[in-house]
Symmetry: C2
Subunit: 469 residues, 2 copies
């Protein structure tokens, strides 16, 4: 394929993508296929000779689409949103075309520099303390990571190195392995599994801090476990606070936790993977109060800020501290492998939406989740299971876990909308996450009527059934 054919096929692909997104509400949100559906549909091995674009193109509808879960359908209410917008798609085309690799300044000056400046823009949008910004020659700064998991891992590793150095300088008789064996990291029992994984990768212990009845970690809970662990000879070194937990979007109390971490020499990382985007709205910014105590902070514009995957924004407060503290910092903090020109997406989206356009997007989602919450509250068969703060509603039928599992099953088998569940303590709960860029009040109303009808059907049979308990 030469440039001339690319011009033709590229334009066809633009139309295909535009058609797909414009009419996505006509597609069944969740596919009908069974595991293993694809292998029999395609050859065993790659063709020897080139196939035409037409042949490949027609297989998209024949082979791929039947197996796609349509994340951008307005009937998709599962997980958390995956951001998508037209400006980001345009930027990604440009990024692919340039195809540069940004692992050092010389390898691609524009790529390296735009990233730093864009993270300053974004940091200012959420009113991050000055210390986190790079500015002309600031102490802190931001970097784009591939995922929140990666950001958590990097901050845990930085904390590990820093702590080992400190403890070793105070206790020269201890070996690195001995110190490693006593290090312990902490996170809420509601934290994302990536925090546990980061600790496993880093070879250090991790403990849960109990969240309260609002699924929130407060200062006293952290204090309690720290005191116990220090008494038994362990060395607390890292705490990951979550703003917007995955199950129910609860918020740890930074203003209580931060001072404890600072006092105890514990690195505080804040994981705001989903919720962070909301902090561009002044009415939600208070949820970030206490970030001034943190060492590192992360959220995913690729979740809720209309920037297509991947774009996870991470800031550290004191780069200079790090650079002084351990020689490995540049390896950890900078991209240690090939990276694309990801900041272009941020640049396109921030400029073509403007701050106000992005705020509107966030506010629409929050409004729709409250709309759904109100519909649930009007039906006394149902209950709301956690405070609705942003775009997520956790709800369930008053009744057993089995009943709620049956409800979810009937919802997902009908395939008119798509939801996923979670557990809150022992309770099986349905999560209604406002996801699509194009979702409107009518879709939310439809979803509720549909759920409500399925609940009615279910309860009728359920009551005459021995499932009931």
């Amino acid at each position: 394929m030469d440039a001339a054919e690319f011009r033709k096929r590229g334009k066809e692909m633009v139309d295909y993508v535009a058609d797909y997104l414009e009419k996505i509400d006509k597609r069944q949100v969740f596919p009908d296929v069974e595991p293993g559906y694809l292998r029999p549909l395609i050859p065993d091995c790659a063709p020897q000779d080139p196939e035409s674009f037409e042949d490949v193109f027609k297989d998209i509808e024949k082979i791929i689409m039947p197996g796609v879960t349509h994340w951008h359908s307005p009937y998709f209410f599962a997980y958390f949103p995956a951001a998508s917008s037209f400006p980001a798609l345009l930027a990604d085309m440009l990024c692919g075309g340039i195809g540069c690799v940004g692992f050092s300044w010389a390898a691609s000056p524009a790529c390296t520099e735009l990233e730093t400046v864009m993270l300053d823009w974004l940091g200012k949008m959420i009113n991050l303390p000055e210390e986190f910004l790079a500015g002309k020659d600031g102490q802190g700064g931001g970097v784009i990571q591939g995922s929140a998991s990666e950001a958590t891992l990097i901050s845990l590793l930085a904390a590990r190195t820093k702590t080992i150095r400190r403890v070793q300088s105070e206790n020269p008789e201890l070996t690195e392995a001995e110190i490693m064996g006593r290090l312990v990291a902490y996170a809420s029992d509601q934290a994302h599994s990536s925090v546990e994984r980061a600790a496993l990768i880093g070879g250090v212990k991790i403990k849960n801090v109990s969240s309260d009845d609002k699924f929130t970690v407060c200062g006293s809970a952290l204090k309690k476990v720290l005191d116990e662990d220090k008494a038994s000879g362990l060395i607390p070194f890292f705490f990951c606070a979550t703003l917007g937990t995955t199950p129910c979007c609860s918020f740890d109390r930074l203003l209580e936790l931060g001072p404890i971490c600072n006092k105890e020499n514990i690195w505080m990382h804040i994981d705001a993977a989903y919720a962070g985007s909301a902090f561009i709205c002044p009415e939600f910014r208070h949820l970030l109060n206490g970030v001034e105590f943190a060492d590192s902070f992360n959220f995913n514009p690729h979740k809720w800020l209309l920037v297509n995957f991947d774009c996870s924004a991470m800031w550290v407060k004191k780069r200079s501290d790090l650079i002084g503290a351990f020689k490995l910092e540049p390896l950890y903090l900078q991209h240690h492998h090939q990276e694309r020109f990801r900041s272009l997406k941020l640049w396109f989206v921030l400029r073509m939406y403007g701050v106000t356009g992005l705020q509107e997007h966030i506010r629409k989602h929050v409004r729709l989740s409250h709309q759904f919450e109100h519909l649930v509250l009007q039906d006394e068969r149902f209950e709301i299971c956690a405070e609705v703060v942003l775009g997520l509603v956790c709800f369930r039928l008053k009744g057993s876990n089995e009943l709620n599992k049956a409800l979810l099953k009937s919802i997902n088998e009908a395939k008119k909308i798509h939801l996923v569940p979670c557990y809150l303590r022992e309770k099986f709960v349905l999560r209604f996450a406002v996801c699509s860029r194009t979702v409107e009040s009518t879709h939310v109303k439809f979803a509720w009527q549909h759920i409500s009808q399925l609940a009615t059907d279910l309860l009728q049979t359920w009551e005459h059934d021995d499932h009931q308990q």
Copy 2:
């Protein structure tokens, strides 16, 4: 921006990218800007109100392009290639449009399944032993990672867990921390820095194995360090063999190293980041002989197989072993965070080039590197510093490191071509890597004439200069 505007702007962007790539040879390969050039050119913060596409679009040439190192210019001979092709760009547009997240089967069946099948296709193309393939329900299988660094890290972590389990079952009195403190990983002194980093992240020791005068690790070198380390109580657990080292594209001797690793219970990972793509040509496949002894193998189609970043292919031989051996395997091996539909690129490229088209691409690059090698050899002022096997030529002026640094400086300051250097032992060496998809014999000839002329100029002044030593 709505779908209608996206249709218009998307097509403009397709033309922009086509123009860029078609006329990339007219652009200066390396930019003129100085560090910090970009910040003064753009506002301090994101705009409140939306800007038009036109405004953003015209800044591409004004602000971005002046700071771009043109990786796809036929005058770019630095690092290793970054793959790029039109079919891959088309696939990426589709991938962005679908915008699904593939972290589990249900989250996107087509994405999960196409990936497995594509890695079987690719595995067959390089004639990987059956054990590495997933097949219908095989023991092994492949997965797409973001980078070779990531693949190395994952294999090191898997090896670490497996070894700790084994040692602990044999020596129940040892704690995990004690075992960790004795684990040691190995790689060639020519290995990529990502291997050392993987060990640092995993909190285990790493040692270099000395390469020979061909920059190759042979069995006896590994044996020697293993014997010493075992005698002093360490536990060797991981060896990363390199096929195609970063400095000079040398190859470790798998057929000697593999049996040693197998006998000593050492996980052998093979990093063939760049060279792996060449194994689709039967005449280069022998370089992979011995892969049958490995536990995991990785190469980057995003380097040399015309699949745009990111697409790093990793296979493990015995998934079943892993699943039995440690509960964490699914966390490590599967994507533990959001991933795009990266296999689409592989599908488009393998089909639209066909195996023969991809072989042609590899062979052209190898032919061009030998052309350059011959030009160097005809000039007795120069020497070749390592065997030319694939698309990389390491060369230098016979003379001091200072002389060669001066030559590189004059090459890169002229900005007609772009090269980077490396050290081979104490020698400062210039690396000529055939990179661009569109590079032809004329570009190679031009590059050589240019280098040769600069060398003449340099040698004239150098001889009358006190630099000379």
